[in-house]
């Protein structure tokens, strides 16, 4: 209503068309809300009765009409007027009485969305025809700046992570969240090798995580091997699983490849679920030994015969937190190892070949690169890091079951990589903080946090489809140095 009156005299030709479009939207809304909102069955003492709620229907239809009108007018260029009107409308909605709270939330949300659209449109109109290209360039420059910053900030963050367990606020829950975040960061960095660098969409990464976890759990259960002997073995076995899957699968391209990896992830889970005699099936494996202090000392109050207790060895009071802190440092070292390895291998011929394969496979063949071998290397290396993470997961939990390795896990890890920006190491960290950290921090919002998470993902994919911090620095420079880099960026932007 407000938007309409503000623009009434503005243009004779736009307004009728806008009103017509809004009216059509309102009719659709009426058709939908009349049965869904307008009629409600209530279980009363007289039996099932129908209660009508036409007031709500009227409000909903009016909201749809106004909202559609606002969107159309923004599209037609009346952004300033609509921005003012929508802010005014938001204030009115805040104060006005609504029959039910959800309606108020929807009305406020709608006014907010329209205000944002109008503001974006205003900015675009001011800055000339700033299209998607210009926005991408700006985002890329931002990502470049962040990456340059991480050169200085990175070590500081690592120092902070090292000092975290001894901070005054670091209780058991903080360190637990830290372990969780680092596990996902490690998995994200591991998956980044195959998805981000080699450009192969792997939807079944959790399979290698599972292979690593079960490798350790089964070796410990059947042979009583220690964690430190099993950790490298878990990586090797996961890498072997990657090779075995890779040989038949890497001939496939694009979507077909993704589908087969998805299937492989499910195959591993279902085998674990059904091979009851060996893996314990849905009951999982419990009592997986906790890690000791490099085979020297135990993290128990009363160590077993012939073992030393960690707290006795260092003359400390016994504290169950010591084991948690040790686990925290273990995953920190593992995650940093993946990062160091990835940053290093990116600059080697094999890393360059991965990125070249992502860009153009046919050109790679013409340059003498054996695609299958290079892809297999990416696949098995990525799987190996997943296996390490899996062994860590098993020893931290002490209990694993196939339920921990569902497709949802793969999807979350993939979301971290894609959201952060494929091939961006910092992006993985930031995305993990968003994807894992935020829902963890807002646990009291219960199921609404998943809704908010989904909406956030959609918004980011609309706003920046290539990921938050996607920016690629060349692995080798002919004209090195900071000034040269600045000059190049400026010249490229002009071209």
């Amino acid at each position: 209503m407000t938007a309409a009156t503000l623009n009434a005299g503005a243009s004779r030709s736009v307004l009728p068309a806008a009103l017509k479009e809004a009216a059509i939207a309102a009719v659709v809304a009426l058709a939908l809300t009349l049965p869904f909102v307008g009629l409600r069955t209530v279980d009363s003492p007289q039996g099932l009765t129908v209660v009508t709620r036409f007031g709500e229907v009227a409000i909903a239809v009016a909201l749809v009409f106004i909202g559609r009108l606002g969107l159309v007018l923004v599209r037609e260029g009346y952004a300033a007027a609509v921005l003012g009107a929508s802010i005014a409308a938001a204030v009115v909605f805040w104060l006005a009485p609504f029959p039910t709270p959800p309606l108020r939330v929807i009305a406020l949300g709608g006014a907010g969305v329209i205000a944002i659209r109008a503001a974006l449109k205003l900015r675009d109109m001011r800055g000339g025809a700033a299209g998607q290209q210009a926005r991408d360039n700006r985002a890329d420059r931002f990502a470049a700046k962040v990456q340059e910053l991480t050169r200085w900030l990175g070590p500081l963050v690592v120092l902070f992570a090292v000092a975290l367990p001894f901070m005054p606020f670091a209780g058991r829950s903080v360190i637990d969240i830290g372990i969780l975040l680092l596990t996902y960061i490690m998995l994200g960095w591991g998956l980044n090798i195959i998805v981000g660098y080699a450009g192969l969409l792997d939807l079944g990464y959790v399979a290698f995580y599972a292979v690593g976890a079960y490798s350790y759990a089964l070796l410990a259960q059947y042979f009583g091997w220690s964690f430190w002997a099993c950790l490298p073995l878990a990586g090797v076995l996961a890498a072997m699983a990657g090779l075995m899957l890779g040989f038949p699968v890497l001939r496939l391209r694009g979507d077909y490849f993704a589908i087969v990896t998805l299937g492989f992830g499910e195959i591993i889970r279902i085998v674990l679920l059904n091979w009851y005699d060996f893996t314990g099936g849905p009951n999982g494996i419990s009592g997986i030994p906790r890690p000791d202090f490099f085979g020297i000392a135990d993290f128990t109050r009363n160590p077993a015969e012939g073992k030393v207790a960690f707290h006795e060895m260092f003359g400390l009071e016994f504290d169950p937190l010591q084991r948690i802190i040790f686990l925290y440092y273990l995953i920190l070292v593992l995650a940093l190892a993946v990062n160091f390895f990835t940053l290093r291998i990116r600059k080697l011929p094999i890393g360059r070949a991965w990125e070249a394969l992502r860009e153009d496979e046919i050109a790679c063949t013409a340059l003498g690169i054996d695609r299958t071998r290079i892809k297999l290397a990416a696949f098995s290396i990525s799987a190996m890091w997943g296996g390490f993470a899996g062994a860590f997961f098993a020893t931290r939990q002490g209990f694993i079951s196939p339920e921990s390795f569902t497709f949802l896990e793969s999807a979350i890890i993939l979301a971290i990589v894609v959201l952060g920006g494929m091939g961006s190491q910092v992006g993985v960290v930031v995305a993990t903080l968003i994807v894992i950290g935020l829902p963890e921090a807002f646990r009291e919002l219960s199921e609404y946090r998943m809704l908010a998470f989904g909406m956030g993902m959609v918004l980011i994919m609309v706003w920046r489809p290539s990921g938050l911090l996607a920016h690629r620095e060349p692995t080798v420079l002919l004209h090195g140095g900071r000034d040269a880099r600045r000059k190049r960026a400026a010249a490229e932007a002009r071209a």
């Binding site: 390895f341 290093r344 291998i345 080697l348 011929p349 094999i350 360059r352 070949a353 990125e355 070249a356 860009e359 153009d360 046919i362 050109a363 790679c364 063949t365 013409a366 340059l367 003498g368 690169i369 054996d370 695609r371 690629r472 060349p474 692995t475 080798v476 420079l477 002919l478 004209h479 040269a484 880099r485 190049r488 010249a491 490229e492 071209a495």
Partner: protein, 295 residues
């Protein structure tokens, strides 16, 4: 056998011998019994109207297609003869056959220098001991990488791309992308450089520069160049030997002058109806006088 005659006449060693090459796609015979040779230190051009089968021949030589029949023998720099039709595609680049593509195939999001480093994948991979030496940062690998960068710098200088070495390849202007593709092919240290329409989309000045570059590659490196080209001004000025295809068959072969005045070639390019007047630019390229009677 004119091919054998010219081979005997000039002492240049034969690099590539194509014998009775056939390529069949379903019912279509795209290449029908084509034979020719390419020699070291010479530019051999393959020309023909659209759909004549030039790119198919190329794809057979560079391993992208497996020929239906025929033999492709290539003499490597150590004198061993490889049968290209039996090798997988990636091995063909390894023995010294490099190619470029009709529609440019760079790695657009990688830098210009990185494009050239990827081209040296095989030697660098060996130097990095399959990444072990590279991961450890051993001096042997560092030295190999420095040499790789120097080779890349050499070709960037030859193609005039030094200033943009650190740009994303996809941001280069079109002509520079064409030159970069040639530089990248040269970084594989080939014996035979196969170029699929390198002058397509270039303006006359860029075409002239390209001709100079190809001549300098032929004379400076002593390697063979095999060229598919539509731009007759380029073909006629730089080729030592021209092979003409039409409907998958070889219809003529010889020096540019001989091919230019060959009746079959003129017919293939201009059609059989001799009443049609020649378009003046085509006539000029072919060196034919327009006198109303075609040839």
């Amino acid at each position: 056998m004119t091919a054998l005659d010219t081979a005997a006449a000039t002492a240049a060693p034969v690099l590539l011998k194509v014998e009775h090459l056939c390529m069949r796609f379903g019912g279509l015979l795209a290449v029908n019994d084509v034979s020719f040779t390419a020699k070291a230190g010479q530019i051999t051009a393959v020309i023909g109207p659209n759909g004549a089968g030039k790119t198919t021949v190329f794809n057979c030589i560079t391993g992208f297609y497996r020929p239906s029949a025929g033999r492709l023998s290539f003499r490597g720099d150590d004198g061993t003869v490889h049968l290209l039709e039996r090798l997988p595609g990636y091995r063909i680049a390894g023995i010294g056959v490099a190619r470029t593509f009709q529609n440019i195939r760079l790695f657009p999001r990688m830098s210009v220098l990185e494009n050239l480093m990827v081209a040296q994948h095989r030697p660098l991979m060996r130097a990095s001991a399959f990444s072990v030496a590279g991961l450890l940062g051993l001096p042997s690998y560092r030295k190999a990488e420095r040499e790789g960068v120097e080779l890349a710098r050499h070709w960037l200088e030859r193609t005039g791309l030094v200033d943009v070495a650190d740009w994303e390849a996809g941001n280069l202007p079109y002509g520079a992308q064409r030159r970069l593709e040639i530089a990248r092919a040269m970084c594989t240290r080939p014996q035979l450089l196969c170029l699929d329409e390198p002058a397509a989309g270039l303006n006359p000045r860029e075409s002239a520069e390209l001709a100079d570059l190809l001549r300098s590659i032929r004379d400076g490196e002593g390697i063979g160049v095999l060229l598919i080209e539509h731009d007759m001004s380029v073909v006629m000025t730089i080729s030592d030997h021209v092979v003409v295809l039409d409907y998958g068959r070889k219809i003529a072969e010889g020096s540019p002058e001989a091919v230019r005045s060959d009746a079959a070639v003129i017919k293939a390019y201009l059609g059989e109806d001799e009443d049609d007047p020649l378009p003046p630019e085509v006539a000029a390229d072919l060196g034919v006088r327009v006198d109303g009677e075609g040839a």
